[in-house]
Structures are given as C-alpha cells and as structure tokens.
C-alpha cells in the first residue's frame, strides 16, 4: 500500500494499463504536454510519446466519436473530456453511438471506450463549470457509469474500466483529486463494477452516497454519532451497474434511508435509488426516504450561494433528523 492522492492513483492506473496493453491510448484536450487540466495525465507523454498520449483540438463531439471508431477498430481508447460540462457537446456520440452500437447492430461489435471527465461544484466556477451530470448517462442504457470516491477506488475502478469491454463514463469529482488514501500497488488491483461498499457500519439509518458525497456522508455520520444516531454509509461506486442488493440489505436492517447526490434533486440518480428501495423494501421502511442533493438551480457563483445550493454534511444530518 502507498499513501497517494486520488489524482496520482488515476495516473498510476493509466500508466499501468498503457504498459500492460499496447492497444490502450489516451486522447483529449491538454492531456499531453500540459498533463491534463487537473494533471491526471501528468508526465505520461514523456513516457509514452505523442502517439499514445494525444493532444486533440477542442472538438468534443469528434474526440468521443473518434474514440468510438478507434474502439470499433480494435483499440482501447481512454478519452478525457476536460470537464463533464463539455460532454454536452459530445452527447450525440455518447448516447447515439457509444451506448447503442453493440445493441443496435445485434451484438456484432463492442465499444471498449472509457470517457473520463472531472465534474462537480464547490470551486466558484459558476453555472457552466460546476455540474454533476451522472443522471444524464444513468438514464441511457448501454453505457456504464462509474464514480470513484477514494484514491484506491480511483485506481482499481479505472483499471477495471479500461480492461472490461463496455463503454464507460468515468466521472471524477474535482474536489477529490488532492485527497490522499492508501492504494494497493499490485498491478492487477481491480475494483469490479456493480459492488457497492459499506464504508461505515451502523444500525439506525442508511446513508447512500457516491463520489464526493460519500465523504460528506461520513462527516455527517460522525456528527450523528454525537447525537446518539448510528448511521451506516454506503458508497455505490457505480450507478450502472447499480448494486441495489447491498443497499436493500442495509435498509432492511436500519429501516431508514437517506440518498445523497450532487446532481440536481429533480430526476437525479438518487431518485432512481430511492424508487428501487421503495419498490423492493416498502414494508421494511419505518420512514419516508429522504434525498439530499443540489438545489434545482444553475450553480451560483458567490460562495455563500454555492454552499446553499450544494449538499453538505449539515444537510445530511438534518435529513436524518427529519426521520429519526
């Protein structure tokens, strides 16, 4: 184990997979000489060269589409979108091609494409640079959606994403890049998709989170402990596939659930989680499921306003209090 940042863990994953499989290559805006907007690909071009670490024009739709074509052509592209906000310029190729090609062509092809993108608010970057858009992709069948919350998961999930055969939206939270954690050094350290993790055990309430909100939930759980409430915290890790079984097992034990996500409240991925809990475990619940998410407004710029719009440990505590 090594104590490294989430950013370094992603960089390690990329290095190891570039070493392991010559079909793997990276392309995106500023991924080469600049080392990536968030320095995730720092230093890779020096080791692997311009052929495998490719700086692209600012052409998101074609970068993703070319990733699809390269994947169909037998390679394993890792495309970086500078931020998820720009994925909206590429959404046609993500939804209409990457996610559909295998199915609509009757299983004739596969698209082993990983699209990495930072996302999330909290840095006073305003409405167009602070979004969490996982729900857009969770809504669309045919593409996996992975959101690691820790350095270890960042490495193991990215390596798994590159090795498996389906297209993946790999969403990294901008607030997590500097966060350190113990990361296995094993080159075959993989975190398979569809395995939610109970990151804190408790008996009174289940807090279901993913990406940065896992850390908010853990802080909230500590605050709740002071009040005598013993919270269990689950990190979903991937939204597609969704490990609802782990969630249900916990909810059946605690009889209370709070779902926390940074996307907008309305139509967010957490709403789907809540719906599935209701459908499968209605009789096990002692209280209505609470959701803590971003307010239904474009992200405001002022830091007080931004904090008011984002989920937080305090808001999670209040949500738990409402049903305790």
């Amino acid at each position: 184990m090594a104590l490294i940042t989430y950013r370094e863990a992603l960089n390690q994953a990329l290095r190891e997979e570039l070493d392991r499989d010559e079909r793997v290559f990276i392309m995106g805006e500023e991924v080469g000489y600049f080392g990536g907007a968030f320095k995730v690909t720092d230093g890779l071009i020096a080791t692997y060269g311009e052929k495998r670490v490719r700086d692209t024009p600012i052409s998101e739709l074609t970068i993703v589409g070319a990733g699809v074509g390269a994947a169909m052509g037998g390679l394993r592209p890792v495309v970086e979108l500078m931020t998820i906000n720009f994925a909206l310029l590429a959404i046609d190729q993500i939804v209409n091609t990457a996610a559909k090609a295998r199915y609509m062509f009757g299983g004739q092809t596969k698209v082993p494409l990983v699209i990495r993108a930072p996302q999330g608010g909290g840095h006073q970057l305003g409405a167009q640079h602070s979004q969490s858009l996982e729900a857009y992709f969770v809504h669309c069948p045919g593409i996996r959606v992975a959101l690691p919350a820790t350095a270890a998961d960042a490495k193991g999930m990215l390596k798994y994403a590159i090795r498996q055969e389906d297209p993946v939206m790999f969403l990294e939270h901008e607030s997590l890049y500097g966060m350190k954690g113990e990361v296995p050094e094993d080159e075959d350290y993989l975190v398979p998709f569809g395995q939610a993790k109970v990151v804190r055990e408790g008996k009174d309430v289940t807090i279901i989170a993913y990406s940065k909100t896992v850390h908010d939930a853990l802080i909230a759980a500590d605050l709740l402990e002071n009040q005598g409430t013993d919270a269990e915290v689950i990190d979903l890790r991937t939204l597609n596939p969704l490990d609802i079984a782990t969630v249900l097992e916990s909810v059946r034990k605690t009889a209370r659930a709070v779902v926390v996500y940074e996307g907008w409240l309305t139509g967010g991925a957490g709403a789907e989680v809540a719906a599935q809990i209701y459908q499968a475990a209605f009789d096990d619940l002692d209280a209505p499921i609470q959701r803590v998410a971003s307010a239904d407004v474009p992200m405001p710029y002022n830091r007080h306003l931004e904090a008011a719009a984002l989920p937080s440990p305090d808001k999670i505590v209040r949500a738990v209090e409402r049903i305790s």
Partner: protein, 323 residues
C-alpha cells in the same frame, strides 16, 4: 480505361443489385409489407460502387441513413439485409437495427447511421486505429451534402488533417437535404472546396460515373496508405426518389420539378456504364443482361428468405446490450 473486365462486371452486378434492392424496398414499403423509414438511393449507385470497388476487403466504411447501396457495394449480403429490414432474427442485427442501422463488421462495414454526420467521427477514429496499429487499412466515410453542414464534418476534417489519418471523406451530394435543395442551405457551390479550409485535397467528382469515382477513390486510398492523409471527394449525383418512401402523404407541394428529375434520369449511372463498356467492346450485351438477371434473382431470393425467416422472441429485446 485501366479497369479489367472482371471488375467492371462486378461493378455492374453491384449497381444492379442496389437498384433492384432499392426498388424492392420501395415497393414493399408502399405495399405496407415492411415497416420503418425507407431511404432509397436509386440513381446514386455509381458513387457507392465506385468507392467500394477501390477498397480492399479489410478496409472499412461508415454509412448513412441512406445506406443500403454502400452496404451492398462493400459486399453486404442482400438476404441478411432484407431480413433485417423485415425485422427478422436472421437479419444482420437480429431485427434490432432496421434499415438505418445495418452493419457487417466482418466486412468492415461499421454501420449505417441514423444521425446526419454521425458516422464522420467514427470513420475518423477507425482511421486513427488503422494508423496506430499500422494495418495499412483505409476507411471510407460516406455522408451526404446535409452532413457537410454538421459540426462533425468540420471537426473531423480538421482532426484527420492534423493527424494525417488514412480516411477518405465521400460527400454524396444528391442535391437535397431531405426536402431542401442543397444550394439553399450551403455556403459554397462545391462542398469539395471546403477541403481547402483543412489543407487537404478536395475534388468534385461526377458521382454518376462509376469509373471516375473509382479512379478518384483509388488515388485517395493510395495517398492514405502512403501516410499522406485524408481526401475529400464530393460526388455529385441525384436522388431520383424522395427523401423517404411515401413522403407524398405528408408533404404538400413539390420541392423539385419533373424536368429536373427527368434530366438526371437521362444520366442513369447504370446505363452510362453499359454504354461505355459496349462502345469500347469490353463487354457484350448478353454478358450484361445475364448479370442483371442474376441481380434481380438475388433480390427476389432475399425477399423470400426474409419472409420465411423467424421473428425474434420478445425476450431477445433484452439481449446484446452488454458484454
């Protein structure tokens, strides 16, 4: 002409196969026997066949919503195509794709595409894969005049130019984007001149002359294989039929004159080929007729195959999404 007799006969066969296939699709759609949108390419056969005849079997293509001709030209099996359009399990996509999503990856056909311009970045990425893996393959990217006004066209030509990718962009300018004349919505008379903006060669080609299309594609493919990058070919042709079969039911008024259609029908690409090879003495009438007859029979057999094929089971709707 530096094209051998066997290749010419093969071109002729494929053009007839396309013409018969498309005519049959039109008739069966009109009769209500097959569902979905039918975009047929009657009149445009020389472009599809001229391009694909200049490619190797391992080269790849991307196609469009008006893609039957491209698929047949690249070697697609008309029976499996027809079965797909009938929605049968024996179709290329097991009945999950339909006319706009037929593909045969074993033949390098990376799929028709229901999004205008959607195939352009895919072809560009396919060419990137060939370049990185040093396979020597080229990718031919079919798209229409309408797609030349999509962002993917401009983004992809730029990318292919800076990376010198082995891709040939084939703009089939058939005169109309759906029901709108190309000239009314396009800044340039010749889309080929847009190549200049991306510092790549661009040529206007008579898209109804299969030999000229073949020659230009062969040159572009040679350039691509030599590492010299992409080429834009604008093949000027004409859509004899409407944008979609049965459009008369939902559009009022005419968007083109009968004289214009007649003028282009007089320039039929199949008759042009016949005329050229009969005059040069390369082929005799009965040789041509035999091939044309075979093409008709193949399409008839394809319809029988499609009709007799089993439908997919409802449970198959949940298959083929993930690996």
């Amino acid at each position: 002409m530096d094209i051998g007799k066997e290749l010419v006969l093969e071109m002729y066969r494929k053009m007839h196969r396309i013409r018969n296939f498309e005519q049959k699709i039109k008739d069966l759609t009109t009769a209500g026997e097959i569902p979905g949108f039918a975009h047929v390419s009657i009149g445009e056969e020389a472009t599809a066949v001229g391009v694909c005849s200049a490619l190797r079997p391992t080269d790849r293509i991307t196609s469009t919503h008006r893609g039957h001709g491209h698929l047949i030209a690249k070697g697609g099996d008309v029976a499996r195509m027809m079965a797909e359009i009938y929605g049968k399990r024996t179709g290329y996509c097991k009945g999950k794709g339909g006319s706009m999503h037929i593909a045969d990856f074993s033949l390098g056909i990376l799929g028709a595409n229901g999004i205008v311009g959607g195939g352009i970045p895919i072809a560009t990425g396919s060419a990137l894969a060939a370049k990185l893996a040093k396979t020597g393959e080229v990718t031919a990217c079919f798209f229409g005049d309408g797609a030349a006004n999509e962002g993917t066209f401009h983004e992809s030509l730029n990318l292919a130019s800076i990376w010198k990718l082995p891709v040939i962009y084939i703009c089939e300018n058939n005169g109309f984007g759906e029901f709108t004349p190309t000239a009314a919505v396009t800044s340039v008379k010749d889309i080929a001149v847009r190549a200049k903006g991306y510092d790549i060669p661009g040529y206007v080609v008579d898209g109804n002359d299969v030999f000229e299309v073949y020659r230009h594609t062969s040159e572009a493919a040679a350039r691509a294989r030599a590492g010299e990058g992409p080429t834009l070919l604008e093949c000027k042709t004409y859509r004899w039929e409407g944008h979609v079969v049965g459009e008369g039911a939902f559009i009022s008024g005419k968007y083109r004159t009968e004289e214009e259609v007649a003028r282009w029908k007089a320039r039929c690409p199949i008759i042009a080929l016949e005329k050229a090879v009969l005059e040069s003495g390369m082929l005799k009438r009965d040789e041509l007729d035999r091939v044309a007859q075979q093409a008709r029979e193949e399409v008839e057999a394809a319809v029988q195959f499609a009709r007799q094929s089993p439908l997919p089971e409802p449970s198959e709707a949940n298959e083929d999404l993930w690996i």
